[in-house]
Subunit: 152 residues, 2 copies
DNA sequence: GTGGGTGCAAAGGGTTTGCAGCAAG
DNA sequence: CTTGCTGCAAACCCTTTGCACCCAC
C-alpha cells in the first residue's frame, strides 16, 4: 500500500479532509475489522474534538464509494469496518477471546453452482463465518478439563 | 410436530403461560425466521394487551433453553427467531424481494477439518448465508434488460 | 466564495430493564 | 401462598440526522 491517502481519496472520488485522512491511516494500520468506536478512540489521539458521528459518516461514505467494507458479525451487534483490499475472504472467530482472523481460502464456488442449478437462483455472493477456539484458548480449555479430572 | 405446547415447555423446563403458548403456536406455523415485531403483530391477534417486551423476553428465554434459534442476518438489523428444529441449515436470501429460504445441504464438513488442521483452531460451528436473486426476481431483471435492449 | 464536511446535540430503531401487579402451580 | 411472568414506561446501545459553522479547493 504505497499510495498516499490523498491519492486514495481522489481515486474513490472523495474530497480530502483531515478526518478522512486520519481514518484511512487507522484502517491501513489494522489487519482486522474494527468497530466505529475503536476507530473513534484512535481518531481522538490524532484529531482534537473529532466526533463519533463524523466517524460514522466517513465510514459510510467509504463503504458507499468502495474504499471500505462493512461487516455485521453474529457475535457483536455492532458493525465492523475495514479497508477494502479486494480479497474474497471469510472470518474465523474465536469463541474464547473474540479474536477475528481472516481466511482466504473458499470452498464455495462449486456449491454456488449447485445451488444455482437446484434452486433456480442467480447467486451473487455469500458470507461465511466459522466459529471455534483458537490454539491458545483450546489449550486453556484442555488445562481446565485436566484440572477437573485431577480433582475428581 | 404432534407434541402439545404445554409438553414442549415442560420438556425445555419453561413455565407455562398463555403468552408463551401463543408464541409457540406462531413459531410452529411459520417455516421461516421471524422478527420480534412480526411475532408481536401475530400475538396481538390472539392476546389482548400483549407487550413487545414480553415477546422479547419470551423469545430470549426460548433461545436460552434451546427451544428456539436466533439469527442475525446481514441485510436486516433485526434479530430473527424460529423454532429449533435441530436441523443444520443455511439461508438463501433474495436480494430482490428479501425472501429467505432454507438450504439443508452443507458443503463444509471437509472444509472445517481442513481449517482445523491448517490453523490449529478447534472448530465448533459455522454460519453461511448465500445472496442472490430468486427465480421470479431473476425473471424480472431479465425483462428489464430486454426492454432496455429493445429501446436502444 | 461555494459546496461540502464537521461538531454537537438530539432523535431514531431495535432491544432490555425496573417495577408494581397478576397469574400459574 | 409463593414464585416468577407480565404490561408499561423508561432506559439502553448503536447509529443517523438537523443545523450552524468551518474548511478545502
Amino acid at each position: 500500500m504505497n499510495i498516499s491517502n490523498r491519492e486514495m481519496l481522489k481515486h474513490f472520488n472523495i474530497k480530502y479532509s483531515k478526518q478522512r485522512d486520519v481514518i484511512i491511516d487507522i484502517l491501513k494500520s489494522y489487519r482486522c475489522p474494527l468497530t466505529a468506536e475503536q476507530i473513534y478512540d484512535d481518531c481522538r489521539a490524532a484529531v482534537e474534538n473529532m466526533s463519533l458521528s463524523t466517524v460514522y459518516r466517513i465510514l459510510n461514505t467509504f463503504v458507499d464509494k468502495g474504499l471500505a467494507l462493512k461487516t455485521n458479525l453474529d457475535v457483536e451487534n455492532k458493525a465492523l469496518f475495514e479497508l477494502n483490499r479486494h480479497e474474497h475472504k471469510h472470518h474465523l472467530l474465536c469463541l474464547g477471546c473474540s479474536k477475528i482472523v481472516q481466511i482466504s481460502s473458499c470452498p464455495l464456488k462449486q456449491y454456488e453452482k449447485q445451488i444455482q442449478e437446484e434452486m433456480g437462483y442467480q447467486i451473487i455472493s455469500h458470507k461465511l463465518e466459522i466459529y471455534g477456539y483458537c490454539p491458545e484458548c483450546s489449550k486453556e480449555i484442555d488445562n481446565i478439563v485436566h484440572d477437573e479430572e485431577a480433582h475428581s
